[in-house]
Symmetry: C2
Subunit: 381 residues, 2 copies
């Protein structure tokens, strides 16, 4: 058994996801629950659910109970602004969009510009605001419903949310955020508070909240689950995904801090994508063409195959064929990389096309859409 | 030498103020500085300065330099809302009013409703808001200039101040607030942040800030002095007063937490004042009238005399006569208490009369006066 580590601030090693479910005390999204979800949404599940990329949950069964009873639920996700968003950042957003489409729910997207500023001593306030602006455009380009989605920056919505923030903050001790976020006495006092802000969207409605996120984020929501009922709200539910591997291999997770060559950024042009994948993507193929033809490749450790499976090849039949042919040595490493390059570039070209149209939609998502407008009229005293 | 303790959260024993100046590293307001202050304000000093009740300072000399150069300065004070304000709470406000009158300065008064809420688990948000409303009326009744004074609640001004709050918070560690505020890991994360908010008014202008406060509050401002220059502002100046003694004796300070019989509240009616002073005020008089006539009383440990000296007998000559006659046994304990009762009731009746008229002034101080209006138009990004 190899060693691995999963905390909200570090993911390393080859993760044993079954073991993680036990460690974290979450539940597996099993066949029965998938069946229930399928009949609730009235159609095929999203590939990330079909293929168990979203593999773990808390209280998804209660979400489905509520939905079946007609009480509904709502979605929440968020983002700390950063200069470049990569493909890994889109993963939970893609499932979130699918859930919104299928269940017609409200969605809250928190942009933690305060957290971004507090995290980096060298950032100016306006740097973070610029990054937030870019990130919001990328998020909107995923295709959410502008009347049912409220995207807000912490620094702006604070005018409404402050009393609620104080109510949550009063229930969370420094011991807790030290344990959960890895804070120490050297951490600045701004960072100490923001875990409270991060829980707030789960209290925006009296319904149950569902958070799609990577499994390493689960500890954050345990804080919410500790305080929610004392504040008169539901414990939040969550669905957890695995990590999209960095180009270099199926260990750890795609991350900006690991260097630009480990990730594909949403701004990478076609040539950059081609070069990065050809040069850096870890292959499960053999050392020579001859050997590969004879012995076949291993898709389980092949990053291009994994990426196709997670995000870029929605067709199960096609994916199965690729898997079979790669194992059989019929598809060469270079060919598999070629397939991924084409898919990624197609995806990014489309994404950037949508993003270009988003500048004029921003007002709807942030201030003027049906949900956004009602949120600015809300008070929490 | 008796033991004493002065921290922002505990004052006990008989305080040696000379020693405290050395311990805290502040400076004495000496005869030379008082002379300078006198000529700057163009008249007699306030009794609390003349009589060395305000006895210590930081950078008051720099304030005077700035004033003499025509650069000016501004004033800042604040209050955590509480259900009852007592006479001790008014002391720094009275000097603040005098300073504003003499130097025609802007004044910022921070009402830390967030802190009040975070401090008491049993408070509802609206309880704190009610207390804040009452406290603001009492503060306004001290008689500040409504065009040059901005009174704000943290929970309201947060909409403007948040970026500035984050800038200050990023520079303050948990270690610092643990040391200065006595916080521990069991402290809630809201309280951990508020020391940053408390520094903000010192950054409202590029001029130098002067804070009139009791000496136990000095450690709070050391945090400001650590971070101010890194943010492009001046280290704040301060003038520190001694503690107004509780009725029971000249040890410690008047405090609501010590029980209602130790303090005179601004809402105490004439009969309550009379009863409290007659029953509880510690006297420096003798056990019997005969003994007192023969040996005389000791005004140095006599609470009624101390209160007259601090707040209720502005006339130096009269005070001197009282002192002399009390020492000589000409004034009896009951007579001295009688003088104080009269003065206190006069003061409170006047105060409450002014307070009644304040409801309609509130909008000026908080939103519409010249300074208030400009503060709501300000942004700190």
């Amino acid at each position: 058994m190899k060693d691995f580590k999963v905390t909200p601030w570090e993911v390393s090693g080859e993760v044993d996801y079954e073991k993680l479910i036990k460690e974290f005390g979450t539940s597996k999204i099993d066949a029965k629950l998938k069946k229930r979800l399928e009949s609730a949404c009235g159609g095929e599940l999203h590939p990330m659910l079909r293929r168990d990329f979203f593999f773990s949950h808390r209280d998804l069964n209660l979400i489905l109970n509520d939905y079946e009873k007609g009480n509904g639920f709502f979605l929440y996700t968020g983002r700390k602004p950063s200069k470049g968003m990569h493909i890994g950042h889109l993963v939970p957003l893609v499932l979130t969009k699918w859930l919104q489409d299928k269940f017609k729910t409200n969605l809250y997207i928190e942009i933690t510009d305060d957290e971004g500023f507090l995290h980096k001593k060298e950032y100016a306030w306006k740097d973070v605001q610029q990054a937030a602006h870019e990130n919001i455009l990328d998020i909107m380009a995923v295709g959410f419903d502008p009347q049912k989605t409220f995207i807000f920056k912490d620094s702006e919505y604070i005018r409404n949310a402050y009393p609620l923030l104080m109510k949550a903050a009063r229930k969370i001790t420094n011991s807790t955020v030290k344990a959960v976020f890895g804070f120490t006495d050297s951490t600045n006092i701004g960072l100490s508070l923001y875990p409270a802000y991060q829980t707030l969207p789960t209290f925006f409605e009296k319904k149950r909240c569902l958070i799609p996120c990577a499994i390493d984020q689960d500890p954050y929501w345990r804080i919410q689950r500790d305080i929610a009922e004392g504040l008169g709200y539901h414990k939040t539910a969550a669905v957890h995904c695995k990590f999209i591997p960095p180009l270099q291999g199926v260990q750890g997770k795609m991350s900006s801090s690991a260097g630009p060559e480990t990730a594909i950024y949403l701004t990478d042009d076609e040539n950059t994508v081609k070069k990065k994948i050809n040069k850096y993507a870890f292959s499960g193929g053999r050392a020579t063409v001859e050997e590969h033809r004879k012995l076949g490749g291993n898709p389980d450790i092949d990053v291009p195959y994994q990426w196709l499976s997670i995000l870029f090849e929605p067709d199960d039949e096609k994916l199965k064929t690729i898997n079979r042919d790669y194992r059989a040595g019929k598809i060469l490493t270079g060919e598999l990389k070629g397939m991924l390059i084409e898919k990624v570039n197609e995806f990014l070209v489309e994404h950037r096309k949508r993003k270009e149209k988003m500048e004029k939609e921003m007002e709807l998502f942030m201030y003027k859409g049906k949900l956004a407008k009602s949120m600015w009229e809300k008070s929490y005293e």
